[in-house]
Symmetry: C2
Subunit: 375 residues, 2 copies
């Protein structure tokens, strides 16, 4: 599977215009574009341009209401619940995280849980919003069930990512990971690339290990059973119950506290929306923020400097690979899978937009790749 590279500006131009044409206001389209491109710039291909087709389908099906306004329905000086009103996840998420940040600046801590939202892109985007203001940021989201609980055979939790960002020098601590071994986006990438899945990633419809990406994805969509394993695999001996537990923590801050749909009810046909959780914590609530930042920075440097395993050249701290990815993409452009470009051209066609205005004479391959999700 080949890739084509585009500049940030080219993709940004396309995304803003496309989301305006879907019916969003210009500043809303800007937020969505910024969120998706942050993912691609960070090297998290699964949550960038690849997600456009999902939003297209979500808007088409009416799961995403382009005119929705998220509302604060419960609030204290340190907490809030937001009703997303079926809005675009990025717009619900940004509002919720901003509220958490505002509360943290006043009260030291802000925790916001949001319901009836949609896919919000990478969780790290919101954690980083807080970090950019000198705070510790957390974000998590549930989603359509894809994680099979330990000893189960039906997906009951989402990929349920948890992200955390905290200021540090020379670059911030930035952790953003699903509580499954991998995300569905990664399965979709393997599917597009027609590669077998690595061992330990997925389960077939009966709950046995599987490396068959198309079969696993088809079973997930048809709710036949199977799905992705929790971080830690399928056995307690390798910590399966721990990944499942982290998935539950995500569920608590997203669907449980907001009284929203738990992952097993998310995106069932045209029903069931998504919930998110956000938190911001001011290091100043624990002492001198500059000293705390320096303390973290020292530890991160010690980790990077610590002895490497034989055959390895480098220990990464979280956020470091993203810095390298950004530098690469600023220099060489953002790689987009050509099957994703097929989807992009479908969107252009759907919206009556001229591809030449964005991608010049580029022609996507005639490919049999089809969107494998149910939005």
């Amino acid at each position: 599977m080949s890739y084509v590279k585009w500049s940030y500006d080219t993709l940004h131009h396309f995304l803003v215009d496309a989301f305006v044409n879907f019916g969003f206001k210009a500043e809303e389209a800007e937020t969505v574009a910024e969120n998706l491109l942050m993912s691609d710039m960070y090297g998290i291909e699964s949550h960038g341009m690849q997600r456009v087709v999902r939003y297209h389908k979500g808007i088409e099906k009416g799961m995403i209401d382009v005119h929705a306004t998220p509302e604060v329905v419960f609030e204290t000086p340190v907490s809030a619940v937001i009703e997303g009103n079926a809005g675009m996840g990025q717009l619900v998420g940004k509002k919720a995280m901003q509220l958490a940040i505002d509360k943290a600046k006043k009260s030291g801590v802000g925790i916001v849980s949001a319901r009836n939202s949609n896919h919000f892109g990478i969780a790290g985007y919101y954690a980083k919003m807080a970090c950019n203001e000198g705070l510790i940021g957390f974000a998590c989201t549930n989603s359509e069930a894809i994680m099979v609980p330990t000893y189960g055979r039906l997906a009951m939790l989402g990929s349920n990512p948890i992200a955390c960002a905290m200021p540090a020098d020379p670059y911030d601590f930035f952790f953003d990971a699903s509580t499954t071994v991998v995300t569905r986006g990664k399965l979709e990438m393997y599917n597009k690339e027609k590669k077998p899945l690595p061992e330990g990633w997925a389960l077939d419809k009966d709950g046995h290990d599987s490396t068959d990406a198309p079969d696993v994805l088809a079973n997930i969509i048809a709710k036949n059973g199977g799905g992705i394993m929790p971080l830690g695999g399928s056995k307690e001996l390798t910590g399966s119950h721990k990944g499942y537990g982290y998935g539950m923590l995500c569920e608590i801050f997203s669907s449980i506290l907001s009284m929203g749909d738990t992952s097993n009810y998310c995106m069932q046909g045209d029903k069931g929306l998504i919930c998110h959780g956000f938190a911001a914590i001011d290091p100043a609530a624990f002492g001198d923020p500059a000293a705390i930042k320096a303390h973290l920075s020292t530890y991160l440097q010690e980790l990077r400097d610590s002895p490497k395993a034989e055959g390895q050249e480098r220990i990464y701290t979280h956020g470091e690979k993203e810095i390298a990815a950004i530098a690469d993409r600023e220099k060489n452009g953002i790689p987009v899978n050509e099957n994703t470009m097929v989807e992009v051209y479908d969107v252009l066609d759907y919206l009556g937009m001229d591809p030449k205005a964005y991608f010049g004479d580029y022609v996507p391959p005639k490919d049999d790749a089809v969107f494998a999700g149910n939005y």
Copy 2:
């Protein structure tokens, strides 16, 4: 390796008397006993009676100050930092969690970070304190480095457990797990039982996979390299960087916010103490606590009721195995490894206590088992 069973009262009697004889006040000894026995009652053998020898060595070496009083050194309505003054971990921990609970009851959220403490038993004990008062409880702790970061060969993080408890019916959600694949206590149990380690748990001094428990433990003690893998194993493909990331979250709430020793400095000879993090969150800060509890309870029941993998009979929710373990131990007594009883008899001898007053005519085996820790 054989086990001997004792009643809760027998072990409680021994523990309270032993810790009073070590120099603690009666109510302090009671807290330590309650904490250790909660672990054994929950079936978490590694953190119960097996830990007595570590406290014995810690007190003997002067790492644990039996007369210490933990102090609040920084405080806001939602946060605090506690200076442990080298006190017993259980006493620092209980004070810190109580403070977090008090703040959550007044402000909705309480987050407390503690430094210069010692091993505090199971993190779940503190999370459960909050849960018992209707709150969501979190607790974590760093410890002597034992987790090797992804692509490293030197342990730089502790086993860094994170615990969460939240009220639910018919029993609370209770999650308590190291961010390593397993704890050091588990390695010590395999060592005592002279069994090879399962694949995927540990690394040798050069950073390669190892199943040799005595070698891995000896290397950890001598700081030769090697240690335990993060949850997710040693490769990014299986999510190693995720377990490493959760270990970092633990470090942030324990050592970083408190400005205490990061795990790579904990328990280096007679220097370097331990840090903990605690949080309590009032569900009432998000709506009706009874409705939120019912929502969680429903989801937990749906998880238990969901289809099982072929060959499996049951899906557990977190906290359910502990309920079963308690019922078993209330009926049949608490099983204690006989090598642990050797250590207990050493403590009795050290303190000049009469074993018959607690364990009657029981005689521990003449065993070559020795304490494998450096306290």
